[in-house]
Amino acid sequence: MAASSASAGDSPPPSSPDAAQNNLQHFFILHKASEKSTSSGKPRKRLDLCPTKLKEGDEGCLRMEAFQLVWSGIESSIKDVLRNMNAHVFNQIHSWVCDSFGAIKPIAPFSSPLGPFPIVTHATCCAQLFTALLLTKNMESVDDFSTFQELGLCLKSHGCHVASLSSLDFSPKNGIAGSLSSLLRQFFIRSFDAADMSILASWYSQHGNYGSPVVVIIDDMERCSIPVLSDFILMLSEWVVKIPVILIMGVATTLDAPSNILPSNVLKKLCPCKFTLGSPAERMDAVVEAALVRQCSSFAVGHKVAIFLRNYFLNQDGTLTSFLRALKIACVQHFSSEPLRLILGGLLVKEDTKGSQNEKVIKCASQVLCHGRDQMAEQTDINIAHGLTELKRLQMLWSTVVLCLYEAGKCDKVQLLDLFCEALDPDVYNSFASDNDNRTGLGKKFVTSLSNDHCMLEQHLSSRKGRLICQVVCKVRDLPAALLCQLLKSWEVLTVNVLEIHDMIKELQSLLKFEEGSCKPDLTDISKYFMMPIECMHLHEIFCFRNVEKLQSVSIAMAALINIPIAATCYL
């Protein structure tokens, strides 16, 4: 079994072709530019998968199911987080659209649908196009495809006519005809051989479409061919008296970009308003918090894997899409390489604690466990079960402390991703732990820590390991009483499920009240006792994926596969 699982580890989990397809679907929804390469990669994958599947169908299915169960949990929580992040901006944009429409409406009377041309009868008003510049704050626009899709859906649900165009619609090859026909295609399903704004105008006046704004969303303004985009804007602004078009353009870099690339006569037609999406770093933090820290799912990554993910994000790609892709690859590899028995056992424990039980998995797990019982002593099983519960407890403690530290570091702009990587480092933990080996007992620590001198901390600061955590801890120590109170309050909320830390926070709060702000808490103990990285825990292999080399090679291959066509264009 071990041998077979090892062989399966080289490839993504054996699965039915459909499932594999679902699996890959995710990639090319997010990675628009990679459509071709992923689709060409698909059949190859399928070929790889088939033999393993035939050999050990049942086990493969179980692995797949386990993977899907865990990954769908992670994925949905990530989606929720991102949606919540965007919701605020979307609402802002919607209210702005309503305001702008109110401002245009008086110019566009319903009368005279025949006049095929929008002739401005009031010489004074020069038609301007209300334009939202949505700063995506990321040079790569891959992450934002889904964001813009959601924005379109959101506006549609509020009754706007929405057309989403991308830079592909503004290519110099097809010119303005291409962009107009794809604009029309969004409203008319069929395509026209001579795309013309007058078609849209008569559509708008005839179908009872009158009365709601027409929103045109352009994903990535900077990637469009500028002459085509300029013509498009000029044309829309000429017609704005007949069709109340409101433009939303995604700007990847800076706010200067439109004025740098568009000619001034086009800029004059725009009446811009700025909106900002969450920055990639913010989004990354939110995703890390939801998927890796808070969720304590049956999947975690080791220190080196975390470092790899972080560096790849910061140095190479910088998109959430590739981060999630790498994470998914890690997840796939984990579930295909670990012994099935342990995985399912782990799932069982998780399900128990969650309360909501997935019957199928439990059934499978118990089957497998029963099957294994012949070979293994029952005692081991009990040990494992106990170990898993303990593991779960420690993980919970760890994640709570990390979140507390993040909360404390927020005002210093400490990024959760960095903190997360550091908190996973077994060396940091060991160095913390070894410093205070002689001291034991939880009750003692606050008393000692209050009188503790700073030398230990400084020592940590001087060593590069664990710098960030020490920095945060120092910061908390030096916080003025009022802010400390605030912080403790937010910690109280964060730790509400973890009694051990919660009690300590309470204790601290009472101390603070008693000493009227003169107290200086020391958090090294918290981090020391509770921040045990997953790799230091017993049985961590069940949840934790550590094989960074494998991940690296797979994701590089993956990236290369996707990037070959793009890179090739550089040579052309």
């Binding site: 040079m139 007058s198 179908h207 811009p272």
Partner: protein, 567 residues
């Protein structure tokens, strides 16, 4: 003046005839199932029954009296044939508005097409024909045009058909009307207006369509058709003795400052206040631009700023308040002069307060914060951007000549052989530099990229080592294909532009478009000492050779080329 009077007297009759001649005319032309069948009167601008006198017309265009009178003279009285007219002038001088409003005043049928919206011959032709056939696009006819018309000859034929049928109808009709009334209708003339004619020159088939349009008068030989061309380019740029009647030019000069004063004073609620505002802003702004659209978009936010100290907007300002307002307002003028594109933001007040708080809270690091890069960019892209910036800034000729002087230090045969090649390259580089300043081939970019990443490794190393040593080395060694990806995304973000590819070699040349500020920001964000490298960069590239560069291309990305950097 007399000519301008005549339409005024006929206005009443034209309107009534427009009302009196519906439905029978050309209903059969359209099968549109809409509320009311379109008639020729739909080609007449303005609301029915609306009165728009010549005085109204003249007063709505301050400073354009002579031009409007000239246009009216050229159009002539009712039913009089006219030569084609060519209206031209700078942007935002009122060309289209004046023509359109004049027709609104004259109540004569007008077929208007803009070559901006009609972006190819077919759409232009069909747009004109649709209007003449009184055709309405709708769901019932599948949003199709009245006639499918792509070639100029088809256009002329259809145009003639349409005009003849309309003229027959109107003549027949006007005959009836004449019998009843005093004999004047809104005329037999139909006017075709072609706006934005300068766009035509950019079309693929512009060279054939332009003569066609200018020749239309001769081709049709119908005195009932009036042609008006509107263009922002002067007539000299269009015709060159092609054998057709040259249109009569009508030039609209730029507005003077007095004209602008009058234009902006129209429709102001509080004229006194606004004139005091104009007295402050108009002069400095007129030195920069006299375009009404530019000025009006600049003035509207400024006026709100100007009015800020006043609570009651209807107040009649006296000298004292003017002075007070001026003192308050003065600092805002100069920045506004340089502003071309002002983006407002629509943040909720809470967020703004938060931001302000955040700024106040972190006063110490403020200087640093202001110059931070406000969007995300992977580190390798940052290095690449800096490399591109340096490659554009520093002359390539210096690079290669310096290489020649020290290239022999590394005495390998292969290298020397290739350095001959680099001599050739030097020559072509010199040549290309003249053709396309600041551009560089990708090889050079990658060389500089490798050079600066190996320098950047120093300070970054510590951090990266701490994180397990998977840091910037990857940028160098692991993923050269990713560097190309970064290059392509930098290109699409318009930080690097491609262009000026050599037709013989077929290699693309790149050029950095990043401003110095931006480059400095990027350099600061990765703690790269850009100032050391700028301009003096050539001294640091002494050991970078072209052969190493070509060896360091993605084909063998594993081995790190032996680039030594002297600092």
């Amino acid at each position: 003046m007399g000519k301008e009077e005549s339409p005024k007297t006929t206005r009443r009759t034209t309107r009534s005839s427009a009302l009196a001649t519906p439905s029978k005319n050309v209903v059969e032309e359209t099968k549109a199932s809409s509320s009311h069948p379109p008639t020729l009167s739909d080609l007449v601008l303005g609301e029915k029954g609306e009165s728009f006198s010549a005085d109204d017309l003249l007063s709505s265009f301050p400073g354009r009296r002579n031009q409007i009178l000239e246009l009216l003279r050229l159009l002539g009285p009712q039913n009089s044939p006219m030569f084609p007219v060519f209206v031209y002038g700078g942007t935002s001088t009122g060309k289209t508005s004046i023509v359109v409003e004049t027709f609104r005043h004259l109540k004569r049928p007008l077929v208007y097409s803009s070559c901006l919206t009609c972006y190819n011959p077919r759409i232009l032709f069909e747009s004109v024909l649709n209007q003449l056939f009184l055709h309405r696009k709708n769901a019932a006819n599948g949003y199709s045009s009245a006639k499918r018309c792509e070639s100029p000859s088809d256009f002329v034929n259809f145009l003639r058909d349409a005009l003849v049928s309309i003229l027959v109808n109107t003549k027949g009709n006007s005959g009836k009307v004449t019998s009843k009334r005093s004999g004047k209708s809104n005329g037999n003339m139909i006017y075709l207006v072609f706006d934005n004619l300068e766009r035509l020159r950019g079309w693929d088939k512009g060279s054939t369509i332009l003569p066609l349009l200018f020749n239309l008068y001769d081709i049709l030989k119908m005195p009932e058709v009036g042609l008006i061309f509107i263009s922002s380019a002067s007539p000299d740029t269009y015709y060159s003795n092609m054998g057709y009647v040259e249109p009569i030019p009508l030039y609209l000069p730029d507005y003077t400052q007095d004209d602008l004063q009058k234009i902006f004073m129209r429709n102001q609620a509080n004229k006194k206040l606004y004139s005091s505002f104009l007295s402050v802003v108009l002069r400095p702004f007129c030195r920069i631009t006299r375009r009404v659209d530019e000025l009006s978009s600049a003035f509207s936010p400024l006026f709100t700023k100007y009015c800020e100290p006043i609570t009651d907007l209807n107040v009649v300002p006296n000298k004292e308040t003017n002075q007070r307002l001026y003192n308050f307002f003065r600092p805002h003028i100069a920045p506004a002069l340089n502003e071309t594109f002002k983006v407002s933001s629509q943040q909720s007040p809470e967020v703004e307060v938060k931001e302000r708080k955040g700024k106040g809270g972190t006063k110490k690091s403020r200087d640093f914060e202001v110059e931070e890069l406000d969007f995300h960019m992977p580190t390798s892209a940052k290095y690449l951007l800096i490399a591109a910036f340096l490659a554009s800034r520093n002359p390539a000729t210096l690079d290669s000549s310096l290489f020649d002087s020290t290239g022999g230090s590394n005495n390998r045969k292969r290298k020397r052989k290739l350095s001959d090649k680099s001599m050739e390259q030097k020559e072509t580089a010199e040549q290309e530099l003249l053709l396309n300043p600041g551009s560089f081939p990708m090889e050079r970019l990658l060389a500089i990229f490798q050079c600066i990443t190996s320098v950047g490794e120093g300070p970054l190393d510590e951090e990266e080592q701490e994180d397990g040593g998977l840091g910037i080395q990857d940028v160098n060694g692991g993923l050269m294909s990713d560097v190309l990806l970064q290059l392509s995304s930098l290109c699409s973000a318009n930080f690097i532009v491609t262009g000026g590819s050599c037709p013989l070699e077929g290699s693309t040349r790149y050029r950095s478009t990043v401003s110095e500020d931006m480059a400095l920001k990027v350099a600061r964000s990765i703690k790269f000492p850009l100032s050391n490298w700028d301009n003096t960069i050539e001294h640091k590239f002494q050991t970078v050779s072209w052969c190493q560069v070509s060896a360091g291309l993605p084909s063998n990305n594993c081995s790190k080329p032996p680039i030594r950097v002297t600092s």
